[in-house]
Subunit: 934 residues, 2 copies
């Protein structure tokens, strides 16, 4: 028979940290904390299997659960020395909380103060000596229980909240503004009125029996696993619905029984920038929810806890260190101080910014706490882009005074139009994805998630560094300034007033999540510390602590990864930038991008408009020179690294003007008949340009273009090589679907090469290969490899053709596709491994069968996406190629892929000849955030 209930606490703990799948993150960590002797209030965890059972069986529980829970409650009573419903002594009160495998902060329901009823409230009042406190607890409990368990929470913002209505009326009647000004008698009346409201709405009396209350709480928590916002959250973060949540029932301890009580949250290192030292917020005489809700502005632990409660501070510092050493990662701790006694409520690996992730991980390696492999696997590869994000430039800020300042809760710089409603933000950005907005709210709630996702930054009036706004912003990598009490926000008028200045919706505002400063208007941004050192050279490495750690991380990544990392670059400037960011070559140079600079487009247009081979060849003459110069620049910049150059790819229609007036001008310029120009442009238009006359099909119809391009590449290569810089051109034929197409173009290239080498009396090595970007190419890769010396997967087009979905037209059904989870992630961002990935595997197998040493790369945008990079590693590619700014992500992801693979192998073999430690397999539980889901 399955064990559904796990106890934890001083008198016996069944679980441990390794049981996260079964007990959820919170349950497993409570058990672990109890196990290592930390002061954890006693309780028990109902496993995630019960959640699965619950949903599989029409919301019924396993029959044996009842008895197990009863026994576990008895154990809490015994350990804590309190009894549920006790009218003689301080009664046992419990909380009932969710706890999934991965933290989903604020997404599911919680019920506190379970066990209070008309009788125990009196005992609590008597024994605590604080009648107002007891009735306040009771009033909160009834309200929360009504909202959460009895489902009385308003369904939309326009619905009436019966409890809030009663509360407002009561405050009005009592002539007070704040809840805390209400007296015990008011609270007693409120409880009565709340209960009447419950009876009226549900038709049933409010439950007085503590056991019934506990079951209500348990059911509410399990039920909240499937609420809308939890579903949205899981979709955003890729958490499977099948995992389910555990439920933790735990004795309550009270941070609100007087000024010798407190409650708080803390990180063992700074979650924004990773600097060492405890940071956190606490509130004297408050319950934990008050801190997270952000209604009262909390005190900073590192600033005042030592002064407020010196003994507790000392104990707390030790506990925090114990926890970080135990878990070998930054811990996010919830605690309560009940009459000077410290209780640990929760610990978990802290959410952190990319800045903090890099800094802390590298520091911990340097401190000897973790291995470099663990550091690599622990940093979500995408987060490294934060380090390359622009910050407000010194120049941009010159002369600017912050109009106000808040808590620097999410690093990064954001500038955009003020929007007050999350829905508005979503609508505006959906309409125009280039539009930048800053979401300005009093505080944020889980309902605001969608709006936060699309905003550049978030600015709130209330809440600290652990508030919802702060937490979610950091996770999303958004700039966030919160708890900025100078803000006066009017949601109805849609205005934000700061001092005497009033901003309307749509006005520009800028927030600096590094400093907490808020600026009026748009503020120009400047590159990150990393880029200042690497690209701008405006900063020395020795003055750049983050850069130093970034460099360490990159060098470790280089040590472990097996995939080569190349870049997509079309100019010498791009190329140099990419080398600074670690590119080992160019995986894709799009020759047509060169044509758009300055007057070059005219030559190209003349070529397109030519209607004889002779006229076309004439027009190609100046283009040859232009292209050769460009290629020389790139070859020089790349200093001997391989450079893959793709021959002309896009349909010609993209290059000609479509408006009559522009056509007329062009005709005049070239001395052509305007009617002829219009005709030619019309001729070039296509029903489905994606599947039209492009790629090698251009080179086959106009072999003179291929000849010109091949000549430009090879003449450039010879010229650069002659001057002493080695060159490795790889000429890539696009959109091949058939070996015959490849052979046709290859023949031209090889002929031109032979001519050029003969003319120049100089030879360079070069390769001729192809893009694999249409399904037929993948399917017949064995044949194509007979000619092609390398394959480069053009996964953008392979996704379009493989899935039959035009990226440009996807918008019409993308929302429903996300909703339905047709693909685990947007297939244009993360490779569709189940479909396109299969095509790639077929092509890899075919290519290697024919040509075992074939070079295999990827040059679609997926080359910079971590999950896709890992796929490429597994699929056996030689390299990935991505845009310069994605290079660090690709490197890190490639290293993670190699380490994970090794780990899996080691785990399978059960070897332990040192490799286990080397690859970070020290603990039974994987501590990394690599997503390996163990």
């Amino acid at each position: 028979m399955a064990k559904y209930v796990y106890n934890f606490g001083k008198d016996g703990t069944d679980g441990d940290a390794s049981m996260k799948n079964l007990l959820g993150g919170k349950g497993a960590n409570l058990a672990e904390m109890a196990k290592i002797g930390l002061p954890v209030p006693s309780g028990f965890t109902i496993t995630t299997e019960v959640c699965t059972y619950f949903y599989a069986n029409g919301k019924q529980y396993p029959p044996e659960l009842k008895a197990d829970v009863d026994a576990a409650i008895k154990k809490i009573e015994a350990t804590m020395g309190k009894k549920l419903g006790d009218t003689n002594d301080l009664p046992l009160l419990v909380s009932c909380r969710s706890g999934a495998r991965e933290s989903m902060p604020g997404m599911m329901d919680t019920v506190l103060n379970i066990g209070l009823n008309d009788k125990t409230v009196e005992t609590l009042a008597k024994k605590s000596g604080d009648e107002r406190y007891a009735w306040d607890c009771y009033r909160r409990f009834v309200q929360m229980y009504g909202d959460v368990v009895l489902d009385m929470k308003p369904k939309s913002k326009t619905d009436i909240d019966p409890f809030e209505e009663i509360l407002e009326a009561k405050k009005h009647k009592a002539g007070v503004k704040l809840d805390s000004e209400l007296k015990a008698e008011h609270l007693k009346e409120l409880v009565k009125e709340f209960k009447a409201a419950v009876k009226k709405q549900t038709g049933k009396d409010f439950p007085e029996d503590p056991i019934e209350q506990i079951w209500g709480g348990i059911s509410a928590v399990f039920g909240s696993w499937m609420n809308d916002r939890a579903i949205v959250y899981r979709r955003t973060y890729g958490i499977p619905h099948e995992w389910g949540t555990a439920v933790n029932v735990q004795a309550m301890v009270f941070g609100n029984m007087g000024d010798d009580c407190a409650t708080g949250v803390a990180l063992t290192r700074n979650g924004s920038n990773g600097e060492p030292g405890i940071t956190g917020d606490y509130l004297i005489n408050a319950q934990g929810e008050d801190v997270v809700a952000g209604i009262r502005s909390p005190k900073k632990i590192e600033e005042s806890l030592k002064k407020d409660m010196p003994k507790v501070w000392e104990q707390f510092s030790k506990v925090a260190l114990t926890l970080e050493n135990h878990y070998r990662d930054i811990q996010d701790i919830e605690f309560t101080i009940e009459r000077q006694k410290l209780w640990m409520l929760q610990t978990r690996n802290a959410k952190r910014t990319g800045f903090a992730a890099v800094r802390a991980a590298v520091d911990m390696v340097n401190e000897g706490l973790i291995t470099p492999q663990e550091a690599i696997c622990r940093i979500p590869a995408n987060d490294v882009t934060q380090l390359l994000q622009p910050i407000f430039s010194g120049a941009g800020l010159k002369g600017k005074t912050p109009i106000t300042r808040g808590i620097n809760a999410g690093p990064g710089a954001a500038t955009g139009k003020i929007v007050f409603q999350p829905d508005d933000a979503e609508r505006i950005v959906q309409k125009n994805p280039k539009e930048k907005v800053v979401l300005v709210r009093r505080e944020t709630t889980p309902e605001d998630l969608r709006g936060m996702i699309v905003a550049q930054g978030i600015l709130t009036a209330f809440g600290g560094a652990a508030s919802h706004a702060a937490l979610v912003s950091r996770q999303l990598g958004k700039a966030c300034v919160c708890g900025c009490d100078g803000l006066d926000i009017d949601y109805v008028k849609e205005t934000l007033t700061i001092g005497k200045k009033t901003f309307k919706k749509g006005d520009y505002i800028s927030v600096d999540g590094f400093t907490g400063n808020v600026y009026e208007g748009e503020v120009p941004t400047s590159p990150s510390e990393i880029l200042q050192v690497l690209l701008e050279k405006s900063l020395k490495a020795k003055d750049a602590p983050l850069y130093q750690r970034y460099q360490q991380l990159m060098s470790w990544s280089d040590r472990y990864r097996k995939l080569g990392i190349r870049t997509n670059a079309d100019t010498p400037t791009d190329s140099k930038r990419a080398i600074a960011l670690g590119a080992e070559g160019i995986g894709l140079t799009r020759t047509e991008h060169m044509f758009f600079e300055g007057e070059k487009i005219d030559h190209f247009r003349r070529m397109i408009l030519a209607d004889t081979v002779e006229a076309r060849e004439e027009a190609l003459v100046p283009l040859l020179k232009i292209q050769q110069t460009d290629f020389e620049g790139i070859f020089e910049a790349m200093e001997g690294r391989p450079v893959t150059v793709r021959l002309l790819d896009p349909p010609l229609h993209e290059f000609v003007p479509h408006e009559a007036k522009e056509q007329e001008e062009l005709a005049k310029k070239f001395g052509l008949d305007k009617k002829k120009v219009a005709e030619r442009v019309h001729e070039l238009a296509e029903s489905n340009p994606m599947l039209g006359h492009r790629g090698c099909r251009l080179g086959i119809v106009y072999p003179e273009i291929t000849r010109m391009q091949a000549r430009a590449i090879l003449q450039a290569a010879v010229a650069v090589a002659k001057k002493g810089t080695p060159v490795h051109p790889e000429i890539m034929i696009p959109l091949v679907g058939n070996i015959t197409e490849f052979r046709h173009q290859e023949k031209i290239i090889r002929e031109v090469a032979a001519q050029v080498f003969k003319e120049k009396q100089f030879t360079v090595d070069y390769l001729v290969g192809t893009m694999i970007e249409i399904p037929r190419a993948a399917i017949t890769a064995d044949e194509i490899a007979e000619g092609a010396e390398f394959f480069s997967f053009g996964t953008n087009d392979l996704t379009q053709t493989g899935l039959g979905i035009s990226r440009d037209d996807y918008g019409a059904f993308i929302n429903q596709y996300k909703e339905l989870e047709v693909f685990p992630a947007d297939p244009f961002q993360t490779l569709d491994q189940g479909g396109v990935g299969k095509l790639i595997k077929i092509a890899v197998a075919g290519g290697k069968e024919t040509r075992p040493d074939i070079k295999l790369g990827i040059c679609g945008e997926h080359g910079g996406d971590p999950a896709s990079v890992k796929f490429c590693h597994k699929a056996g590619l030689s390299y990935v190629s991505c845009s310069p700014f994605r290079l660090p992500v690709a490197k890190l992801a490639a290293a993670q892929a190699a380490i994970e693979e090794k780990k899996e192998k080691v785990a399978k073999k059960g070897e332990d000849n040192g490799t286990r430690e080397f690859y970070g397999v020290v603990k039974t539980q994987c501590q990394c955030q690599c997503g390996c889901k163990k």
Copy 2:
């Protein structure tokens, strides 16, 4: 050492008919004829391997060839009792002809009268007693040798032909119009002048040595394998360039040595309609080339040979019968009568129309000459469509008198605009593929092939039933009337005058290839005999001899084929037509086609323009009724056969008006804002509609459409079933790429089905399946088969996505792709087996793995293409579906596929327990025209 030279003739024959690959068709058949004792002039064949050697070795011959040829010449001399260069007796003259594995009439070069020189011509004159004859032979020889061997033939039509120029001058000087009016002295002068022209142009004397002449002929024939028109021909008919040609050197016999001589061509049965009895043309006192060239109008063998030469006729009849019985197929015979002695020059399986192919094959089965399996395999499946081609309707011809009459050389009726230049014809039809043209020529030459391919019909002034125009037309299935001497054609003015009536280029004309009649203007057409019996019921089977044979053929096909044959039909009318043509079910009903009838489109447009679910559901109400009625009609028509209905597939943009004016009207009609209509239409436009919002993507975004369609199908099914007609609806979800998409739509269908069955208290069996038309579906077919009960390959779209080629945009590069032979055939006509075929195989394997009893079909246009049908058989599909008029083709191809497979198995196993004979493996050589290339 390889044997390069094979002798044939009375005194010893090395080869036989089975050696077609080595000796070419002509050589093998000459050998076979000689072997069975027929009077064949002695000669030898140089093998196709020499041709291959020739091209692989810089146009050099194998060293041992020289001696072999010398020996073979000696043998001819011995057998024929004549000597090369003999000045004492009638000298041996030889011909030198090409002969490839498959006949390529007129495509390669021939040299006749080799052996004539200044000395032998005198002997010939003396011994034949006809000086003019001898010098005419010599004059022709020098001219032909100059043209063909010495490469003096003009390269283009505007170049001057030196021989023709001299000839014209001579005629002018002699004051005559025709060549035949020239006297011996003129001819002697001509020879001198021709030789001077040769010396002038080539710098060398004309060769007098007969052996040198023979080698010149051999080289010219091998060289002509790679001439332009031969290459075009091979491309058109799919003959590999590697096959090469053989060369036949054979003693000349003379049909032009007086009026007791003749030459001719004959078929053992009628090549136009298959009727029994010899047909053919002959010319008294002529060489063979005169018949083929069509300059003189020949006599009909069946009409006058018996009278002209009774003894020869008797012998000839016997020989023809012997040949047909020996080869068990219609023979195409070339013969010459030299002074009352019959010589057989060539026999081969005759080219024939579809009419003749069906009639003769079925008759031969009934005569006991061949098996039904042989009959099936012998008829090119595509040719059967000729039997369904329209002919001029009686009504259309009513009151019309033919303006002239020619030889009914290619059956079928053609009406179209007059075009005189093949290039013009090609240009006009390329520009507008719907344009119909009739090519009007004095006579046709191999250079005209491209123009003939695009024309509806061909009309010529000269040439008989064996002329180039006739031969090629029949092969192409074009209506052709030739030898129509009433035509006066002026190529310069581009006019055609018939009697007093003059037609200009672009005027309409109509030709009846069944009767030879030519009509002025457009003539409406009426269906074929088959269709008159089957569809129009205007003819009784007993009065329709061709229909009877067609039915016999179809019943044999039904007996042997394993593939099911379904049809694509969207209306009850289509369905009935298809049943008459043998459909066993519907493989594809395109529901959207129904919307285009009458006012239905308005309802559909209202649905498209609706901007809320409610408005859309309202607009769907009348559509439900309309669709249900349509489906009821189809289910009733199909009488219990399975009906696959595809849910809405095309992008909605296809259904709305794109012009502002029409949009305005629509807005008025629906009481909508015209701006809103315009906006919605604009919104629906897509960059790549082929890859856009269509197929199941529509049903996913607008589930109410799927719901309506499912309801219409199932309510119709229930209504029809209730009335006693069984129904088997198969609901097909289009454009699925992912099991999730399928499940979403399937759920709706199953829910609707349950509702309908409950409402109507009646249940019918139905299937839910999907199109496999995008590569991801093929690649993940194993997953999709978990839900789908059947797959139908939508090969049109699978070709577009699999190859990344838009059918609509293919035109921009199709010519170069054909030129390069990127695909063995147009991939939109014949399935690309190497690419798309591989995807299908993957899908079949995946589908069967998950669901062994899965129904597998094809509903793309490839379902009616013989090669593709054979592929489907091999790939293990359950059925093919095609348009009603392709059904006979599909059936025949399916039967051929089954028989060929069995034959291959039998051949592999070497079994002979009766099956060999049953499946027509009686002869060592395959006599069929199935393309099995054995």
